[in-house]
Symmetry: C2
Subunit: 193 residues, 2 copies
DNA sequence: GCAGTGAGGCTAATGACATTAGCCAAACGG
DNA sequence: CCGTTTGGCTAATGTCATTAGCCTCACTGC
């Protein structure tokens, strides 16, 4: 039996490709081993368990998303940055629709690499707020709003939750515009106007 | 062997309770049968498969959510309605954190009951827009924005994606306030101000 | 070249599951 | 009270994750 040239990174990368085809729920060691032309137990030499593989996929997906957002934000500010980051966020979810949910697994404190890539995603959004002059706790609230809107939109779109009646492109465009308006007016205060 | 008094509805309701304890992924016929004090194959007399049970749970959860939103919206308009519906939405996700994700499974066209309850959820949000004078395609975009924001927020909160640094209550409050402001200014138009 | 060693393959076995087949008793209608 | 249907059951199958334990390939130092 010749060596197959596997490594934790190779296995993880192939798992990411497979998961994006069949979905995280249907990612099995059997299917992954077949794709790598290897017997199932061989995978355990590189990955300790399915659960650990899922955690690795969360790191991979979150890293990819963070890189995309970071690239989009580079050299931009204000609405320009917001729009670029928002489009990059959605583009990632469209490009890897079945892997995207892996980005929503919250990192455990004992996984510094996961924590780090997750911080890059949040940081890419947080950084946009500088251009709007938002700081401190206002910035936390504003970041949460932007994250909620972006994640919510792409998650509903990805799962087919929006009806077919109208282009989601146009709706997303308006969402981004509304976020921009909301950030300009930040901090919002309660009460009727 | 005395009859256990099961029925599709009883099985589904107990499955919902179990799923909300252990999570949808760990809902097994073995655990469900044990809870109902019945052997595993007996469940097949009431539910055709695990996949079908999951679909039923989506209907149950979506119906519960729709009822909560409908109750919250009753007799209210404008910001009052928006705030009540938003709080009800979040309260449902908090009350049934591990069942909530079942509400995100899009209904299939051949499941009229599922389609109906899903429409009630969307309808409860859509109806709020009347009070803001939003109609037609503007209303579709606005509904999508509100749904995205609400689902995104509760989904990230539920999965522990928000750090511990600041109260999520306050952040949610601001999110709702920002939604209100966004709806008052609807339709938003692109371009710098 | 070659013995030693460890990493990385493998087969075989186990246990949790979903699912199906087929049996048998309980409830119910005449 | 008999027959039928409904709803329990046991037993068996196939898929998976996981573990134990084997064996060989590739590389190390000589």
């Amino acid at each position: 039996m010749p060596r197959a040239g596997l490594s934790p990174d190779v296995v993880t990368a192939e798992a990411a490709a497979l998961a994006d085809e069949v979905g995280l729920d249907d990612l099995t060691f059997a299917a992954l081993a077949a794709r790598l032309r290897v017997a199932v137990p061989s995978l355990y030499k590189h990955v300790p368990s399915i659960a650990a593989l899922h955690r690795r996929l969360s790191v991979v997906a979150t890293r990819e998303l963070g890189a995309a957002l970071g690239d989009a934000a580079a050299g931009r500010a204000g609405l320009d940055a917001l729009r670029a980051v928002a489009e990059a966020y959605r583009a990632y979810a469209v490009a890897r629709p079945r892997l995207y949910p892996a980005t929503q697994r919250a990192p455990l404190p004992d996984e510094p690499e996961h924590v780090q890539v997750a911080e890059r995603v949040v940081g890419s959004i947080f950084a946009i707020l500088r251009g709007y002059g938002i700081q401190g706790e206002d910035a936390i609230d504003a970041t949460r709003m932007v994250r909620s809107a972006l994640h919510g939109f792409v998650d509903i779109e990805r799962s087919g939750g929006f009806g077919l009646s109208r282009s989601t492109d146009a709706s997303f465009d308006r969402l981004v515009t509304a976020l921009d308006a909301g950030l300009r007016a930040w901090p919002v205060a309660s009460g009727e106007g």
